[in-house]
Structures are given as C-alpha cells and as structure tokens.
Symmetry: C2
Subunit: 188 residues, 2 copies
C-alpha cells in the first residue's frame, strides 16, 4: 500500500508525503515516540486525513521514518569496512549504530515493540541491518577478532539490548558495549 503502486504519486501528494515525513522525524526526535499524529499533521501543514492516507497508522509512520535512517546507517557501515581493519570496523559500526539510536530517544524501544507485530517495513529494516552487520562480522571473524559461532542476529539483538538498557544512562553505554564486545571475542 502506498509503497509501490502502479502509477506514481501526483506531484502535490508527493510533496505532502515528504512534508509529513520531515515533520514526523522532528516530532519523534523532540517528543519521543509518543508525539501525537494530529500534531504532526498540523506541523506539516496538512490535515489528519492526508497524513493517514499516506501512512496507515502510527506504527507505519514510525517504521517508515526508521527505515530511512537505517538505510543511511547501513550505507555508512559499508564505508567503514574500507577504512578500518576488520576487528576495528566491526566495533566501530556497533558504536555508530549505538549513537544513532541514542540520538533518537525512545525510538529504539518503540521499534522493538513493533517487531512483535510483524510490520513488513521493519522486517525489511532488519534484513538491511543484518546484511550490513553480516559483512563486517564475517571479516572480523576471519581476522580472528570475533568468535566463529557468533551470528549477525546475535549482534543485532545484543546491540539493541544495550542501547535500550542505556537510554536512561547514556554514560554507561560505552562501558557496557565494551563488556559485550569482550564476550564476543575468542577466549584467549
């Protein structure tokens, strides 16, 4: 729906969709994940009806904003693997993912809750992240920096977990991420 229709959106519709996305990103960043949709519509200068035609419900909107960000993250991840040695690149990527979710107060938690509902957009996001992590992880493993039995999903979840657990205490983030990374390294 609204994602891949036969004919392209009319110009005004496309504009409005974009305005809503921008307003939504701002609102979610500012008020946490529970910004009201009517308010987002108002900020965007469109009626609630317009917002809801483009995004079926609050979760869809949230997921769409998230998807956009995730794709940017994965992109930067690919760049990392060319700038750093394998082990470093991996650790650096985790820190990056980290900073992102940290900047988005509560968004991570909200997204996590939605994963249970089976949103197709989020499943897509997960795939994108899994690929990005999988690549870096594979290299790190070949280089002997990370245990062989660790899988991309493990990393995905661990990072998410640490992020969520430190949303209210960002200072601890690096420290905890460090412990987790140690747990992924091969035994000396």
């Amino acid at each position: 729906m609204a994602v891949n229709d036969a004919r392209p959106l009319r110009a005004d519709a496309r504009r409005n969709r974009e305005k809503v996305m921008v307003a939504a990103r701002a609102a979610f960043t500012e008020h946490g994940e529970k910004a009201t949709l009517d308010d987002i519509a108002r900020r965007a200068g469109v009626g609630p009806g317009t917002l809801y035609r483009h995004f079926a419900d609050r979760e869809t909107l949230l997921a769409e904003v998230y998807r956009h960000d995730i794709e940017g993250l994965a992109e930067r991840g690919r760049a990392l693997s060319e700038q750093y040695p394998p082990g470093e690149a991996f650790a650096e990527f985790l820190r990056m993912e980290f900073d992102y979710i940290k900047a988005k107060r509560g968004l991570g938690t909200a997204v996590k809750q939605m994963l249970g509902t089976g949103s197709s957009t989020l499943i897509e996001c997960k795939g994108v992240m899994r690929d990005a992590i999988g690549d870096l992880l594979g290299r790190a493993q070949e280089a002997g920096a990370i245990r062989k039995e660790v899988e991309p999903d493990d990393v995905l979840r661990l990072v998410h977990g640490v992020v969520m657990a430190t949303e209210s205490a960002p200072d601890m983030a690096d420290r905890l991420l460090g412990f987790v990374l140690d747990g992924l390294r091969p035994p000396a």
Copy 2:
C-alpha cells in the same frame, strides 16, 4: 502517595486495593502492558474512580505490580547464594531474573520506558535489585568468577537489555546471556 500515609487504610479500601492489584497482574500478564485500566477496574469489580484513587495513573499501577514481583525475586536471589557456589549463584540469578521478565511479556519494556520518568517506586525497585545483585556479584568476584571492575548497575542493565532484546525471540535468550556472561569473566 498512598504509600505511607499517617493513618491506615479503611478495611474496605484495603480490600479494594488488593482486588485491583490482583486484577492488574492478571490483565498485564494476559494482554501485555497495554491492558486498559477501565477493564482492570471492571475485572476487579470496582469503579474506575476507585482504581484511580489508589493508583494515580497507569504507570503507578504498573510500577506497583512490578515492585511486588521484584521483591519476590530479590528474596529468591538471597536463597540462591546459600545453595550454590558463588559463580554459579550469580549466573543462576541472572537466569532467574530473565525467566521472570520473559514470563511477563512486554512488561520489561514498559518498565524500562518509565525509568526515564523518574517514578519513585521504580527507583526503589532498582535499589532492591541492585542490592540483591550486589551481594551475589560480590561473592562471584571474590571467587574470581567475575571481573573486579564490574558493578551491580552494569549487570542490572545488561540483563535488562538482553531480556528486552529477546522478548520477540525467547529461544535466543540463553545464548545471548551466555555471551554477556563471558564478557564479564576475567580474561583467561
């Protein structure tokens, strides 16, 4: 409020408060953290007004239910330290905490979100857990099973994180918890 008032509650009020707690625990376990409060009141056989006099809002109620459970957990934790050797007791406690939050679908996430709001009940919970963990952690550290620089707060947050991250995939829980525990052990 309603926690430590000068005079004790009237008998009927006390009864109602208890009925609401029971209904709330059932509802939260059954419908996840978003069971409606009016529904809880109905189940408990009281009016919404009564519910809201005892528990200022949804978060307060959730926190109160949580507190009750946490105290039980901490109690069981103390028992563990007498049944197992230090390192084992510690690991076993984490698994226990784990199973509890897992059983409570989504409650962990909800509680976590509230930590940011500074609920006094939850701060108390955290204190209780920190003490329980601190004790087991201290013994494990003395026995050389866990690194010296690990602090109770680290453990608290890591476990919470893993729990939240595996709410939608409980099968991975043990595995991830294992990685985290490895990260807390002294380097070989």
